[in-house]
Structures are given as C-alpha cells and as structure tokens.
Subunit: 260 residues, 2 copies
Amino acid sequence: MRVQLIRHATLLVSIKGIRFLVDPMLSAAGTLDPSPGTVPQNKNPLVELPQCVRLETFQSVDAVLLTHTHRDHWDDTAIRLLPPTMPIFCQPEDSLKIIDDGFKNVTPVNDTLTWNGIELTRTSAKHGVGEMADKMGPVSGFVLEAENEPTLYITGDTVWCDEVREAYDQKRPDVIVAFAGAAAFTSGGPITMTAEHIRRLCEIAPKSRIMAVHLEAWNHCSLLRRDLRSYIHDTGMGEQLVIPNDGETIEFRCAEFAEL
Amino acid sequence: MRVQLIRHATLLVSIKGIRFLVDPMLSAAGTLDPSPGTVPQNKNPLVELPQCVRLETFQSVDAVLLTHTHRDHWDDTAIRLLPPTMPIFCQPEDSLKIIDDGFKNVTPVNDTLTWNGIELTRTSAKHGVGEMADKMGPVSGFVLEAENEPTLYITGDTVWCDEVREAYDQKRPDVIVAFAGAAAFTSGGPITMTAEHIRRLCEIAPKSRIMAVHLEAWNHCSLLRRDLRSYIHDTGMGEQLVIPNDGETIEFRCAEFAEL
C-alpha cells in the first residue's frame, strides 16, 4: 500500500493496485479566500501543489473518496478537473451536493461496502469540540481494508474524541492518517487534531504508523511539522510518527506490521 | 526518467531502469558539525531525511555517482551503509579517496564512458568565484544520456560560470539539476548557485526544465526555496523551474521536450 501526500488533506492512496484520490483540493496557492473568523487572514492554499504533481493524472484515478465537502477538501478546481463519471465515495450527507456538482457516479457510504476487493468502512468524527462540532457539520473518516494489505484508517477532519478511539478499537489499523494542523477559529477550540491529540493517538495505537497530514497548507492550521515532530519526540514516541512533505509517497508493507 | 530529491544534493536517478544514487549524504539531522567559517553555525544536516526513505533501499541501487567528496555529498553514514562492491563513478581526483573508504569498484570518469546503455559525461564546474574555486578543490558535474530518455545534466557544486554554459551548449540537456542554495563562507562570495545564477541558467536554457536542489539542508546554504521561487517568478521565467520538496520524485518524459 502506498500513500502519497499531495498537499493538506489531499492524498493518493494505492491499495491492491486501485488508486483513490482522497479529498482533492487542487487550487493554485493564494487563489482562495482565508476561512472567515480565523487568523492569520492569509489567502489559501498557503503553498503550491508539489512539483511532482501532474493534474491530469488525477483524472484517471479509480475513485475519489471524500471525508466531507468543505472547500479545503473539495474545491472548484477539483470539481472542474475530474470527469463527471468518476466514482465518488462519500458520507451520505454529501451525496446530493456532489451530484449537484455534476458527478453521476456518487456512492454514499453509510456503514461499509466492498468495491474492487477493497472494504470501505465509514467512521465517525467530530470536527470540533462541543457545540463547534455541530456548527461545522457532519464529517467522516474511512477505513480501507484489503487482503494482504495493511489496514488504513483515514481520520477525516476530527479532534481527538471517543469516535476516533472507537474506530481504532474496532479496526486496529496498521496505518492511521491523522488530519492534524490544530485548525481553529479565533474562539471555540481546535477543529482538527493538535499535537496533544496526535500524542493521544500514538498512545492508544503504539503498533500503528501514524501519518500526520493537514499541515502548513491552510490559513487556520497553525501547527507546524517541526513543532509536531519535536512535541511528539519529547514524549519519547517519535518512532511511529510519519510527517511527510507535500509530494512524498510512503510505502507500507504488511511485513513491517507483522513484526510488531 | 525519474529524479527523486532525497535531501540536499542526494538524488535517486532512474534512467532506463538503472538507478543511480547521486552524492549520498545520509546522516541524521544535527549529527554533523557546521562548515567552519560559515554562518549560522547550526549542526548539519538541518533536516532529517524525508519520511519515504528507507536506507536499505540505497544498498541495492545500481551505482553511485559522486560529483565530489565533500562531506555534504559523501558522508560516513553513506560509506558505512553502501556495500563495498557498489559501482561508484567519480571524478578522477577522488578515486583514491573512495578506494580508501573501502570501495572496490570505483570508476573515474575522465571524459565520457558508457555503462549499461547510459552515456556518462563529466562536465567541469567551479566551486566558487576566483581564488575560492581553487581553495575548494576540484568538483565535477555529469551529463547522463540514454536512448529515448531526456538528457540530464547534474551541475554539481558550482557557481554560474563559463564551464556551465559550455556544458549546456555542448549537450543541450532537457533537464538540468542545479546545485543551488547560495552556499557561502563569511567572505569570498558564493560557492554554489544563487538565485541570480539560476536566473541566468533559465535564460540560456529556456527549453530545459531546471530542477533546483542543494537547498535548506546545510548550514551555509542561505537561499530558501520560497525566495528562489519568487525571485525567478518575478523575472517571468518561473514555468521551467522545478523546486522539489525533499522526497519528491519528478518524472520527465521525452514527449514533453519534443513539444518545445
């Protein structure tokens, strides 16, 4: 299984030869407005797509997987680029919007389904603490499982919460892609994982590799890679943490988890 | 042809299925002393290897290509890691040192040679301006050519100079990997390419893709990726410039150059 971080939450996941484009946000740097009610008010995305990306390759992926449709996960550039026939898997609450965006092959994942030999299970998530989670609307994560492949859990935009712990307990994923960045509005607490949330994830999942993304690309994500790295390193749990640069492809093999 | 930037000047070049590891410097961050007579005096390398790297994969590359043996291009970690039988191509001045380092299959490239269907041509380089170039010792670049592959010119540690222009004029490379970073001592001018040097390279090679590396990983390299990008962008020549993150793999196809 290979997971390439494109930028922010956009991933290219290859599992059993099937390629999923996750949460495509493909706009050029500085072309989208900052999220309102957040600081600093810099235009988004903060950085360009990495240089290895050729946009046209995304047109021929096997499917798109959307955790939710906020514009930092599903933007107009992606909507324009992807062919209307592209299979799209999403949470049930988003399917009408995506059909409205012009897509004809939209599959809501309520609980679990199998497609091309890959089992997709939707997981719950909380895009904020307390009332903020309701205000931000429904968000999901997904677990991808296939024979002879490591189990992959993509948290989606969530803080550390019981739902994340339950998803872990239920699936015992080998690899957890955690949407970090400590995104926040000027009040109301974090809406994605902070360094402390990643620490708790490391703590409950000591045998998983934890790949932190959703970093350094959107105006309200204040957590930097180097600060996350040193925070976790100082707890003595750095070994399992993977913080890829934009564009990096990380390969995960079943064998490495069997040894643990 | 694929060129992966590992970090600093360390590259993994795949051409016709043959994998060359270029200038391996594989030490962990902060484990090497700063270059003397430079500022800031931070320990090297400044950043870790990217997360996608598995050191053991370097043990099975097909060959190593060394532009010179300064320790930011050939370090003790690489010397310990690589098998003594690894084929190593280098400038003639370095072959005894590399044999001394324990390697049995060292091939000095004086002018040009063909190996596994790939033509390697050594190019001249100046690792500084005026007297500084003599002080820094001999350095080389290399051009790699193979049938149905883009021509690749790796400049090595050099400033903009007649030798670089001559290499370009002679080979008309499709891809130029330029060792940038504007490395310098506290006096004596730059010893690797500055933003202005990259601009001149863009100017003489308008149909080449120029991939800038040797950035943000060693204490005396002051040029940042974002500053190089905006400097070149402001000249209107940004299109051809590629500034990969550590770990990114850039694919170059003959077809894209045929169109130019």
